[in-house]
């Protein structure tokens, strides 16, 4: 049980490469403790998103070992990896909402995949959409929502299934400062409830305003002041 709350994410000498652009991350080792809040910072193209992709199992490392919730991801079957992903909420940089579906259906998707009953979906989803201030947009199609609204739907979708780990890739990238701050408060609320949060951002002001450890990605390697490193 103790382990469950220690190493939510563990990278050991992890490298990652894309077929066309070569190695983008080199020999990265880090550990993220349960219930912690981390920023991943770095300039554009430094490898922040690649690091996030490794964390939500969208990509396999070319070298090294990754453990999520204490499980070596390379030893998992496809179904096991899916089960693991259900414990991870992801807010994508470009939201990745399903355009022909309503805000309600987009947010309900993780619950439907997990086989939650419709009655519970109809109870939880509107409640969460109210929490992110979209109570009037429940039945609106994703394409009719503004950038900020789409982002909040994406956040609601990421947290609806109460993930143990929430990864947000540039979540404030396309919203104004006021919404960005509100969003960060929202993520802090989730963190207080025990969710481990990792936010990839190049917004230095935000990083300075919210005092959380920082993992800095530079030229495919990492540095920083946090206790995240091995």
């Amino acid at each position: 049980m103790a382990n469950e709350f220690e190493d939510i994410v563990c990278f050991e000498n992890v490298s990652m490469s894309y077929p066309l652009s070569g190695e983008v991350l080199r020999e990265i080792s880090l550990k993220l403790a349960a219930g912690s809040f981390y920023f991943i910072t770095g300039s554009s193209g430094a490898g922040k998103s690649s690091l996030m992709r490794l964390m939500f199992l969208a990509h396999r490392p070319s070298k090294g070992k990754i453990s999520i919730f204490g499980k070596d991801i390379m030893s998992l079957t496809r179904d096991d990896r899916s089960a693991l992903r259900r414990k991870i909420g992801v807010v994508f940089q470009e939201f990745k909402l399903i355009n022909h579906m309503s805000a309600l259906d987009n947010v309900a998707l993780p619950l439907r995949i997990a086989g939650v009953s419709e009655s519970k979906i109809c109870e939880y989803v509107p409640e969460l959409l109210r929490w992110v201030g979209l109570e009037k947009k429940i039945e609106s199609k994703a394409t009719t929502l503004s950038g900020g609204e789409q982002q909040r739907v994406a956040i609601a979708r990421a947290v609806i299934a109460r993930p143990r780990l929430l990864l947000a890739d540039e979540p404030t990238g396309s919203v104004d400062d006021e919404i960005a701050v509100r969003l960060m408060h929202l993520l802090e609320e989730l963190n207080k409830n025990g969710t481990t949060i990792v936010v990839a951002t190049h917004n230095d002001e935000l990083v300075h305003r919210f005092p959380h450890p920082e993992i800095r990605v530079e030229k495919g390697g990492i540095s920083g002041s946090s206790t995240a490193f091995l």
């Binding site: 992903r85 414990k87 992801v90 990745k96 399903i98 309503s102 995949i113 979906i121 039945e139």
Partner: protein
């Protein structure tokens, strides 16, 4: 009064829309036509199978002794019948009455055959014990001792020809059905692969939020059924309608020479199983295609 939230389950089933691409537009028509043709082919194949089988059953185990009119004198017929009945493998030997012969010839010679004064042969209908075979050559030579011009016919020559013909036609029909089924499978694989390519972004999102291969495959199966199910059903019903029409119009046309085109209850059930089998095949094909492709994509 608060309006209830619009049910989303149906939207969930349409999670992966086939977005009006040419394949999705025309495929239902093609599948409908293929199902229509395969229904007709299966009905015809089953009809030929049962007809061939019925003829075989009716004709095997029977012999016909033909005594030319000139030879049917001086108790020859009675002697022949007595000889036949003495054979332990023969159940019965019955002289076909003039009336029955007239009825057999009526389609060709009309109803006033007796007035034509034709030298018609006497026919003896012989039933052999089920599962037994008579020594045709031996029996024939014994009969020829009574009347040299007598002919013993075990129908084997023409029966073999008919059987071979029916088997051939039947094989053709089932080949046609197999080709149609393979075409449907190929088109379904094509549609599924196109659907996967079109909906790559959605499939990716589903994966990132924890969907399994089975879940994604089920969404495609539902979508494919929604796309192709109605047209396949229409094609099947049209095929059944056509079979019923042929059955209604063909009644009595054979004049006793050919059996009426009709299907037994069991064959109707077999025909009704066609859409079920095709649906199962379709679901299986979509599921396997999606899971195979996903293994490569993600």
């Amino acid at each position: 009064m608060v309006r209830p939230l619009r049910s989303s389950r149906s939207m969930h089933n349409r999670l992966l829309p086939f977005r009006g691409d040419p394949i999705s537009r025309y495929l239902p028509i093609i599948v409908g036509l293929l199902v229509f043709v395969s229904t007709l082919a299966l009905a015809a194949g089953m009809f030929f199978y049962s007809t061939g089988d019925t003829w075989q059953k009716n004709m095997s185990g029977t012999l016909t002794v033909e005594i030319p009119a000139k030879a049917a004198k001086d108790n020859a017929v009675e002697t022949i019948v007595a000889l036949l009945i003495k054979n332990p493998k023969i159940v019965s030997a019955k002289v076909v009455s003039n009336k029955e012969v007239d009825e057999l010839l009526e389609p060709w010679l009309g109803s006033d055959i007796s007035e034509l004064d034709l030298p018609l042969p006497v026919l003896v209908d012989v039933m052999v014990l089920p599962g037994e075979s008579v020594d045709i050559d031996g029996l024939s030579s014994e009969l020829k001792k009574i009347a040299p011009s007598v002919i013993l016919d075990d129908h084997s020559d023409w029966l073999l020809g008919v059987r071979e013909f029916f088997d051939f036609v039947q094989r053709i029909y089932f080949t046609v059905i197999s080709v149609i089924i393979m075409s449907v499978v190929a088109t379904v694989i094509l549609t599924t692969r196109t659907g996967l390519a079109i909906n790559h972004d959605i499939v990716e999102v589903l994966y990132f939020i924890g969907a399994t291969d089975l879940y994604v495959a089920q969404r495609f199966q539902i979508q494919t059924l929604l796309l192709l199910g109605p047209s396949a059903l229409v094609g099947f019903l049209a095929g059944v309608g056509a079979v019923c029409m042929v059955q209604a119009h063909g009644e009595g046309v054979g004049g006793g020479m050919f059996p009426d085109f009709s299907l037994s209850m069991l064959q109707w059930f077999g025909l009704a199983a066609l859409p079920l089998v095709k649906t199962l095949l379709l679901i299986l094909t979509v599921g396997l295609t999606v899971r195979f492709r996903l293994g490569k994509m993600m």
